[in-house]
């Protein structure tokens, strides 16, 4: 059969924007993993507080040095480790909690679902940034594991909403009813029959969340309550440079670029994953302008998805 649908991975790799995003993310991960091994200094090392303070970019220090004479390139590379690791682990945590909560609520239904969702409404009514500010102000200095836990545990509400809604749809499918009728235990139904069928939107949401958390962590570090000195995270490097921004633009520019590029890459990848997860949608988006030239779009072409 030539009409075999392409695999999701194939479609992802052949999605132009996704390729760029994947390349950038791969590069960032590579830089985070091997970058620090290739540079001469370590991120916290103060080289020469008198002679090498606030040097502009040069061959010896491509990103310049900051007011403590630390090499900014080195710090950005070490910062990549911290920023990426914190964001990834936090999202892993929030996705795990959110998926578990959403699966239980969605599958149980009825009163359990209602109670769990009202509780979630309560959590969601607390602004995330405000909550983090409050907790981090009291918990200072916060260890990295604490930062990851806080970012993760404050970020699962949206995912669990999504998972709950998707679970309710899948639960009503006959194959789930059929699995129940054939004696498959509940845990196995959740794990084997429901989870794989809701994985795509969860993956999209998580990818977008990584970008989001990187920006959030940078914001917190910028305020001095995120990753603690001397551990460099992009946000805290940026923070160090802001004070002398007029003279030392390089201390702010390079970590700033790193943050923007990373957030952008994860957002683009998330969007691409969404396209790939629902191939009909991308087809419509691509074909609509052409088809409108030749013939009026049919109603079905205008529908964003088949099961709307």
């Amino acid at each position: 059969m030539s009409g075999q649908p392409r695999s999701a991975l194939w479609r992802l790799v052949h999605h132009r924007m996704a390729r760029w995003a994947l390349a950038v993310i791969a590069l960032l991960i590579l830089a985070a993993l091997v970058g620090p091994l290739l540079v001469k200094y370590n991120g916290a090392e103060q080289l020469d507080i008198v002679a090498l303070k606030n040097r502009p970019p040069s061959w010896a220090h491509p990103f310049g040095t900051d007011q403590y004479s630390r090499d900014v390139l080195t710090r950005v590379l070490y910062g990549a480790r911290i920023s990426l690791a914190v964001a990834t682990l936090a999202v892993l945590l929030s996705t795990t909690v959110g998926v578990a909560y959403g699966l239980v609520a969605g599958y149980a239904g009825g009163r359990v679902d209602n109670a769990m969702m009202r509780l979630l409404d309560g959590f969601m009514s607390i602004p995330r940034v405000l909550l983090l500010l409050a907790v981090l102000t009291l918990w200072s200095p916060v260890p990295l594991s604490g930062l990851i836990a806080l970012l993760g545990l404050s970020g699962w509400f949206g995912v669990s909403r999504l998972v709950r809604a998707e679970t309710r749809i899948v639960r009503a499918q006959e194959y789930v009813e059929s699995a129940r009728a054939l004696g498959v235990p509940t845990m196995r139904i959740l794990w084997r029959h429901i989870l794989p069928n809701i994985a795509a939107p969860v993956l999209v949401a998580s990818t977008l969340a990584v970008g989001n958390v990187i920006a959030l962590e940078a914001g917190l570090s910028y305020l001095g309550i995120g990753a603690q000195e001397p551990t460099p995270s992009w946000g805290s490097i940026f923070f160090d440079g802001v004070e002398f921004f007029a003279g030392n633009w390089w201390v702010v520019l390079f970590p700033g670029i790193a943050i923007v590029v990373t957030v952008l890459a994860f957002n683009v990848l998330g969007d691409a994953l969404r396209d790939v997860a629902d191939p009909r949608q991308v087809d419509v988006a691509r074909r609509l302008p052409e088809s409108t030239l030749t013939d009026p779009p049919s109603m079905s072409a205008l529908q964003p998805s088949e099961n709307g």
Partner: protein, 341 residues
């Protein structure tokens, strides 16, 4: 029938909805013998599917099997059985074939894995043993080159093939009873005949009892030995299939039979039963069929009919059993009279 395999007594399944209590199954009693095929017939909304789900105790909140209902199977009352034992029965002793072969299979798993899962859940054993058993079962249900097919995903199979896979899943543990809920409704007529033939073969081979749920009396006529007709959450008539087709007693059964197309029929339009099934939250008083019935009289409005014995093994929930002369007084059903007035 000495000792029935399954005996249902006064089964009541109610749904506690915002619009009131829906008495979807309201006092249903019947029995199925070993190796017997029983048809359960009625329109949409008459309670036949809820009856099926109740037998496996798969009714979800806000639905509930009311206390006092009894479902006896293998010396146990399934209504009060603990969830773990109930799960051991599902799929192994009683299993179910669903209506839509398109959606009854999980799109992300190979069909072989889906059959093997049932084996592993109930029987344990290694992955290879379960897989081997799945391939065997695919062969039994008539899937060509089963060893290759087992590696395919549901979307690679035709509707008829998928329904065979669904049947394989239901029968792989060799259950004593299979509940088939409209197993052929979603299929082409030619495929329907093949699937019914397959069910018949498998039943003879394994001695399985089958409860065949359908709205299609044509399917019933060629597949089952006994028919239960449901209306308004109740059994309204029960008879051997030959008896039912020759001497239908209840006006609802009569209506269903008249609504069947016949070969060589000259009428242009098929007869229909006027009106619709009333909502289960508000069954009419008296006979639940009275306002759609062409024979109804004042007694039918006032008095809820019991199941009258018409003949040996033939019961009907209609006052015509005691006032047969009323059958001569055929008139427009009340629902039509009201619409005209």
């Amino acid at each position: 029938m000495a000792e029935p395999l399954l005996s249902v007594r006064d089964l009541r399944t109610y749904f506690y909805t915002e619009n009131g209590v829906a008495r979807s199954v309201d006092g249903v009693s019947f029995a199925i013998g070993g190796g017997e095929t029983v048809g359960l017939v009625g329109e949409s909304g008459c309670g036949k599917s809820v009856t099926a789900l109740s037998l496996l105790r798969l009714v979800r909140a806000p639905g509930r099997i009311e206390p006092g209902s009894r479902i006896e199977f293998g010396g146990k009352d399934l209504v009060t059985l603990d969830e773990k034992s109930m799960r051991a029965i599902r799929g192994a002793s009683i299993s179910m074939v669903f209506q839509e072969p398109m959606t009854a299979l999980n799109p992300v798993f190979k069909i072989g894995d889906q059959i093997a899962e049932v084996v592993r859940v109930h029987h344990g054993g290694t992955r290879q043993e379960a897989w081997h058993r799945a391939v065997q079962m695919l062969e039994t249900v008539g899937i060509p080159s089963p060893a290759q097919r087992a590696n395919e995903y549901p979307h690679q199979l035709s509707g008829g093939m998928r329904q065979r896979v669904v049947i394989a899943m239901a029968l792989v543990m060799n259950p004593a009873l299979v509940i088939a809920d409209e197993p052929t409704t979603a299929l082409d007529v030619t495929i329907q005949a093949q699937i019914l033939e397959l069910l018949r073969e498998l039943q003879q081979k394994f001695g399985t009892s089958i409860l065949l749920i359908t709205h299609d009396l044509g399917v019933v006529a060629e597949s089952v030995s006994r028919v239960i007709v449901m209306y308004g959450g109740e059994i309204v008539e029960e008879a051997l299939v030959t008896d039912l087709f020759a001497n239908a007693h209840h006006p609802y059964t009569e209506g269903l039979l008249n609504a069947m197309p016949h070969v060589g029929q000259e009428r242009e339009r098929l007869a229909t039963i006027p009106g619709t099934v009333p909502p289960p939250t508000a069954w009419p008083a008296g006979c639940r069929f009275h306002d759609r019935c062409p024979y109804a009289w004042d007694r039918c409005i006032a008095e809820h009919p019991p199941l009258y014995q018409i003949a040996d093994g033939h019961v009907s929930r209609c006052h015509l059993a005691v006032e047969p002369e009323r059958r001569a007084d055929r008139h427009e059903p009340f629902v039509v009279q009201k619409a005209i007035a």
